[in-house]
C-alpha cells in the first residue's frame, strides 16, 4: 500500500479492551494487531491523516469495543512476543520493518 510512504502519514497506536482474532485485521485495513496482556489489543500502523485515524476510531466505536488509549509515535519495537503478532495480508508490516532500517 502506498500509505506508509505518504509524507504526512503518522504512526499510531490504538489500544482496545478485548483480544481481537487475526481475521479482524481486514476490518482495520493496513494495520497490525498485537495481543497484549490484560486483554488488550494493540492496533497499530501508519495512517495517512486524521481522517483515516477517525475512521479507525469509528470502527472501534461501532464494534462496541472499549477504547483504552490512542497515541502517536514511532513504531513499537520487535520486543513483542512473536507468536502474538498478526501481520496483515497487505504487507504493511514488511514496510514498517524496512522503514526502520533506512
Amino acid at each position: 500500500m502506498e500509505r506508509a510512504n505518504h509524507p504526512s502519514a503518522n504512526h499510531y497506536q490504538v489500544r482496545v479492551r478485548g483480544h481481537l482474532e487475526s481475521r479482524w485485521a481486514k476490518q482495520f485495513e493496513g494495520l497490525a494487531l498485537t495481543l497484549e496482556p490484560a486483554g488488550i489489543t494493540l492496533i497499530e500502523g501508519s495512517l495517512e491523516d486524521q481522517a483515516a485515524l477517525h475512521s479507525v476510531l469509528r470502527r472501534i466505536r461501532d464494534l462496541g469495543l472499549e477504547l483504552v488509549s490512542v497515541s502517536r509515535g514511532p513504531p513499537s519495537t520487535n520486543n513483542a512476543p512473536a507468536h502474538h503478532r498478526h501481520p496483515t495480508a497487505t504487507g504493511d508490516f514488511e514496510n514498517d520493518c524496512s522503514n526502520q532500517g533506512s
Binding site: G18, H19, L20, R23, K26, R61, D62, G64, L65
Partner: protein, 898 residues
C-alpha cells in the same frame, strides 16, 4: 402501511421502512424505571439516549413508543444513505407529515431541493410554523443519529432545538453524543440523558432476563459471572443466552467465557454460529454484507431459494434479525452481529466476498435502487461495476435536475476509469454545469471527445442509447459552455450540430438544443428567431413530458413576444401553457411564473385589478426558488408603478436585488436600470445619473441589444433633465436606438422609443413633429391594446393624444386612452380583430374540427379541459365570422387555412 411515502418535490419516494416503529420483541426485558425517566423527559425539549451499540437503545425506545398513540409519534430510523442534509431533512419532514400534513405542503421541501438551496433556518421556520399550528403533542424520534455527520444537519438541529414549539419534543438515540448544544441544554434543564451506565442491566435484571425470559436455569453465581463479564451489556447477554440455550454444562461454559480475554461479541457470536446447522451458518455469513435483507435479495446473493424460510427461522430464533416493516418483507441484522459475521466471512469465504457484493449490487440495480447498488459495488472496490450503475442512471438524474447527486456518486470513481467512459464523462460534464463549474465541465466533455476520436475501441459503454446520441449530447454540452461565455455564434453552431444529429423522437434533447438556438439568437437581439425557437422548444418538452422545461420555455417565448409587440400572442401562449400544466395535474414548481407573465400583461393593458388577481393566483400556486421569488417582486413593482406608487415600487426593487441569479437568459431588463427610471420619474435625477455613471452608460456608446434597455433608460433620464442640450442628446440617442430596434424587429421596444421621441419633440416645442412620431406608434399599438405605453409618459403626452384624436388619428383608441387616464371607469379596451390570424392553438383546434372526433375526444387530444376547448372553438368561429363547425371548415378551406 404504505411501502413508500409520497414526498412533494421531484425526487424518489421515501422508503416506508424508515418510518416503521419497531415492535417490542418477544422476550424483551421491561425496563420500567428507564421508561419512567423517558416519560418525564419527554415533556421537555430533548431526550437523549447515548451509548455504544448493543445497549438496547432501540429496544427501549420501542418499549416507550408502545405507550404513545401513533398519531403523536414521528419515528425515523436513520442510516448511512441519509448522511446528506437534503436527504436527512426530507426524511424528517416525511416522518412528521402524517401528524402534520402541512409540513409536506408548506413549500419547505421545494426550498430544500432548489438548485440554489435556501438557508436551513428558512426551511425549518416554515415547518416549525406548521407544527405549532396544532396544539397536540408530537414526539420526533430519531434512531441511529450517529450516522449523520453532514454539516447542514448540525446547524439545522441547533436551530430546531432553539425554536422548538412547546408541543414538539425530540428524542435522539445515538452511539456518540450528538453535535447538538448539549452543555447548554443540560444547564437549562432542557435535556434528559440516558447513558450506557443507565442502560446496563443490573444483576437482578440480568437474572430476570436469563432465567425467566430465556428460560435458562442458571444459579446466582453464574448469573453474577455473566453480568461481570458482560458488564450488563444487553446485546452481549442476549448472545450469551443464545449460546446457552439447551446446552449442558452451562456453568463450565460461563466459567470458560469469564476467563477468556477475547472480544466478547466475537467469542459469543462464534459460539452461536457453531451451534447452527451449516446451511444456516453459511446463510448468515453470506448475507452479513447486506444492510437490509429481504428473501429475494438474500436468494440473489446466496444463489439459493431458501431465503424466506431462513429469515423466518432466524426471526423466530431471535437471532438478531430485526423486522423493518409490518409485513416481514424487510429485515436487518443488528449492527454488532453483522460486523462480527463480516469478520468471520472475510476469513472463511475470503475469495467470495467481492462476488457477494457484486450479486447484491446487481440485484439492487435491477430493482432500481442505484444508491445501494453503487455502495455494494464500491464495498467490493469494483469501480467498474459502480460506474456501470451510475452511467445507466445518469440520463434520468440529469433530466430530474439533480446534478449534485450524480457528482456525489462519481467522487469515489477513479479518473483513470472515467476517462475510458465517454457517456459517463459527458453526463458528468452536464452535471458540473448544473453546479456552475464550467471549467470542470469543459474538461470532462473534452475527455469524452478524446475517447471518441482517439480510441473508440477502448471505450467502456453501458448506456448504449446515450452512446448512440453522444456526439449530439457533447454538442449540447459545448453549446451551453459557449452560452455561459456569451458567444452567440459558437453556441448556435453547436446547437445546430446537435439538432442535425438527434433523432426526431429524442424530444427532450431536441428541446434542449432548440432552446439553446433560441438563447443564441436572443443575445444577438434577433428576437423573432429567438421566439420561434423557444416556441418550438415548448412543443418538444411537452412531447417529452418535461413540464418544468416547457414552462420555462413558454415563459421565455411570452417575454419575447412582448418585446416584439405581440401582446395578444404572449397572453395566449401563457394561458395555453397554464392549461397544459393544469391538465397534467400534480404540482409544478414553475407554474407561478406563467401567472407573473400574465400579471405584467394586464399591467400594460391597464387592467390593474386583473394584474393583482394574477399575483394572488401566483402566490397560491407557490412561489419557489431559484428565480420565481425575484420575478414575483418585480411583477409587484410593475403593478405599484402603474398605480402611481413609485416609492413602493423602488422599495420592491431594492428587496429583489439580492435575489437575482444570473443565468443563460440575457438580462433584458436590468433591475438597476429600471430603478434608475423610477428615480428619474420621482425627480431623483442625481441618483439616476449616478447609476449611468457607475454603469458607464453614455449617449455616444455603440449600441448593442444587451445594453438596449439601459440606453433607453439613459434617454429617459436625459429627457427628465429637460435642458435643451439634454433633450437634443436624448433625441439623437433615441434615433439610433430606433434604427437598431427596427433592424432586430423589436417592435415592442420600437413603440416605446417612438413615444419617447414624441416627448422629445414636444419638449422642443414641435408638436407637429411630435405627432408625426406618435402616429405610427398609435396605429401599431392599437391592435394589441397597449395602454401604459402612453399613460406612463406624463400629461404632455396625453395632450398630444388629444391632438391626435382631433386630427382623426385612431380617434377611438385615443378616446379610450384619455378616459383611462382620467380614471373614469371604462370597460377593458376592445381590441379590434381586423383579419386576425388564428393562433397556433386555434389552428390546432381547427384541424381537429376537420376530423371526426367529438368534443371530449378533441379536448383529450389537445390535453386541455372541455371548457378550454369551447373557448378556443368560439374564438375560431368569431375570427372566421361563422357559427357552426361545418361553416368554419368551409371558410377555412376558402382561406386556405387547412
Amino acid at each position: 402501511m404504505a411501502a413508500t411515502r409520497r414526498s412533494a418535490g421531484n425526487a424518489s419516494p421515501l422508503l416506508g421502512t424508515k418510518f416503521h416503529i419497531p415492535a417490542m420483541r418477544a422476550g424483551q426485558v421491561r425496563r420500567s424505571r428507564l421508561i419512567e425517566r423517558i416519560d418525564r423527559g419527554a415533556r421537555g425539549k430533548l431526550v437523549l439516549l447515548s451509548a455504544p451499540p448493543g445497549f438496547g437503545k432501540t429496544s427501549l425506545l420501542a418499549e416507550w413508543c408502545a405507550g404513545i398513540p401513533a398519531s403523536n409519534l414521528a419515528w425515523l430510523s436513520l442510516d448511512q444513505a441519509d448522511n446528506h442534509a437534503v436527504s436527512f431533512w426530507k426524511y424528517v419532514f416525511g416522518a412528521l407529515s402524517p401528524a402534520r400534513p402541512g409540513v409536506s405542503t408548506c413549500g419547505a421541501i421545494e426550498l430544500l431541493e432548489a438548485p440554489q438551496p435556501a438557508p436551513i433556518e428558512s426551511v425549518l421556520s416554515l415547518v416549525i410554523n406548521e407544527i405549532a399550528a396544532d396544539p397536540a403533542d408530537l414526539w420526533l424520534v430519531l434512531d441511529d443519529f450517529h450516522v449523520i455527520e453532514a454539516e447542514g444537519v448540525e446547524t439545522g438541529m441547533a436551530f430546531l432545538l432553539d425554536h422548538l414549539p412547546p408541543q414538539l419534543h425530540v428524542v435522539l438515540a445515538s452511539r456518540v453524543d450528538p453535535p447538538v448544544p448539549l452543555a447548554r441544554m443540560r444547564a437549562r434543564g432542557e435535556l434528559t440523558e440516558i447513558r450506557a451506565a443507565d442502560l446496563r442491566l443490573t444483576t437482578d435484571e440480568a437474572e430476570t432476563f436469563l432465567n425467566e425470559v430465556m428460560g435458562l436455569d442458571l444459579n446466582h453465581d453464574d448469573v453474577q459471572r455473566l453480568e461481570d463479564r458482560t458488564e450488563g451489556w444487553a446485546g452481549a447477554l442476549q448472545l450469551a443466552a443464545l449460546s446457552l440455550e439447551g446446552r449442558d454444562g452451562a456453568s463450565e461454559f460461563i466459567r470458560a467465557f469469564s476467563g477468556d480475554d477475547r472480544y466478547i461479541v466475537d467469542y459469543l457470536v462464534e459460539e452461536v454460529l457453531r451451534r447452527q446447522p451449516p446451511a444456516v451458518r453459511e446463510f448468515l455469513l453470506k448475507t452479513s454484507i447486506l444492510e437490509r435483507l429481504s428473501a429475494p435479495l438474500c436468494d440473489a446473493v446466496t444463489q439459493a431459494a431458501d431465503g424466506r424460510r431462513m429469515l423466518d427461522a432466524l426471526e423466530r430464533g431471535n437471532l438478531f434479525v430485526v423486522p423493518l416493516d409490518d409485513r416481514r418483507r424487510w429485515f436487518r441484522y443488528h449492527q454488532l452481529f453483522a460486523d462480527v459475521l463480516q469478520a468471520q466471512l472475510s476469513e472463511q469465504f475470503e475469495d467470495e466476498v467481492a462476488t457477494l457484493h457484486a450479486r447484491a449490487s446487481d440485484w439492487y440495480a435491477a430493482n432500481r435502487e442505484p444508491d445501494r447498488a453503487i455502495r455494494h459495488a464500491l464495498a467490493a472496490k469494483d469501480f467498474e461495476r459502480a460506474a456501470a450503475v451510475i452511467e445507466r442512471e445518469a440520463e434520468s438524474v440529469q433530466r430530474h435536475h439533480h446534478p449534485d447527486r450524480l457528482i456525489a456518486w462519481l467522487k469515489p470513481i477513479p479518473d483513470s476509469l472515467l476517462r475510458k467512459m465517454p457517456v459517463l464523462s459527458t453526463y458528468y460534464g452536464h452535471a458540473l454545469q448544473g453546479i456552475g463549474d464550467m471549467e470542470g465541465s469543459a474538461s470532462r466533455i473534452a475527455d469524452a471527445e478524446r475517447i471518441l476520436v482517439e480510441s473508440p475501441g477502448e471505450a467502456l459503454v453501458y448506456d448504449e442509447h446515450s452512446f448512440a446520441m453522444l456526439p449530439a449530447l457533447i454538442a449540447v454540452g459545448r453549446g451551453y459552455l459557449s452560452m455561459a461565455a456569451r458567444d452567440a455564434a459558437t453556441t448556435a453552431t453547436h446547437a445546430t450540430t446537435a439538432l442535425a444529429l438527434l433523432a426526431p423522437d429524442e424530444h427532450h434533447w431536441r428541446g434542449t438544443a432548440v432552446a439553446l438556438c433560441g438563447l443564441a439568437h436572443w443575445i444577438e437581439g434577433d428576437l423573432a428567431a429567438a421566439q420561434q425557437f423557444h416556441s418550438e422548444a415548448v412543443a418538444c418538452f411537452i412531447r417529452s413530458g418535461d413540464t418544468g422545461l416547457a414552462i420555462t420555455s413558454s415563459y421565455h417565448t411570452a417575454e419575447l413576444l412582448k418585446a416584439r409587440g405581440l401582446l395578444e400572442s404572449a397572453k395566449r401562449r401563457l394561458e395555453d401553457t397554464l392549461d397544459y400544466v393544469n391538465a397534467k395535474g400534480g404540482a409544478s414548481r414553475g407554474a407561478a411564473n406563467l401567472l407573473l407573465g400574465l400579471s405584467e400583461l394586464c399591467c400594460e393593458w391597464n387592467d390593474l385589478p386583473g394584474a393583482a388577481a394574477h399575483l394572488e393566483s401566483a402566490d397560491r400556486l407557490g412561489v419557489f426558488p431559484p428565480r420565481t421569488p425575484f420575478r414575483r417582486l418585480l411583477a409587484e413593482a410593475r403593478l405599484r408603478q402603474c398605480e402611481g406608487d413609485l416609492e413602493r415600487a423602488v422599495a420592491l426593487l431594492n428587496e429583489a436585488e439580492p435575489l437575482y441569479i444570473r443565468g443563460a437568459v440575457p438580462d433584458y431588463r436590468p433591475l438597476a436600470a429600471w430603478r434608475a427610471r423610477l428615480w428619474a420619474e420621482q425627480g431623483r435625477l442625481a441618483e439616476a445619473l449616478d447609476w449611468a455613471r457607475l454603469r458607464a452608460i453614455s449617449a455616444d456608446d455603440e449600441l448593442t441589444y444587451a445594453t438596449e434597455y439601459e440606453h433607453i433608460t439613459l434617454a429617459r433620464i436625459l429627457l427628465a433633465q429637460a435642458t435643451p442640450s439634454s433633450i437634443a442628446s436624448a433625441e439623437h440617442l433615441l434615433e439610433r436606438l430606433a434604427a437598431a430596434a427596427e433592424g432586430g424587429h423589436r417592435d415592442g421596444t420600437g413603440f416605446e422609443i417612438g413615444v419617447l421621441l414624441a416627448r422629445a419633440r414636444l419638449a422642443a416645442g414641435d408638436s407637429g413633429g411630435a405627432l408625426s412620431r406618435l402616429e405610427p406608434v398609435l396605429r401599431g399599438a392599437q391592435p394589441e391594446g397597449y395602454a401604459r405605453l402612453f399613460l406612463d409618459e406624463g400629461p404632455a403626452l396625453l395632450g398630444l393624444i388629444r391632438l391626435a384624436a382631433d386630427r382623426g388619428i385612431t380617434p377611438d383608441y385615443c378616446e379610450l386612452l384619455l378616459r383611462q387616464a382620467s380614471g373614469r371607469p371604462v370597460p377593458m379596451p376592445v381590441r379590434p380583430r381586423t383579419a386576425d390570424a388564428l393562433s397556433e392553438r386555434e389552428l390546432d383546434v381547427l384541424r381537429l374540427l376537420a376530423s371526426e372526433l367529438s368534443g371530449p375526444e378533441m379536448a383529450a387530444e389537445l390535453v386541455v379541459s372541455l371548457n378550454t376547448l369551447r373557448t378556443h372553438t368560439k374564438n375560431v368561429y368569431s375570427k372566421l365570422g361563422v357559427n357552426s363547425r361545418r361553416a368554419a371548415l368551409r371558410r377555412a378551406a376558402e382561406l386556405g387555412l387547412l
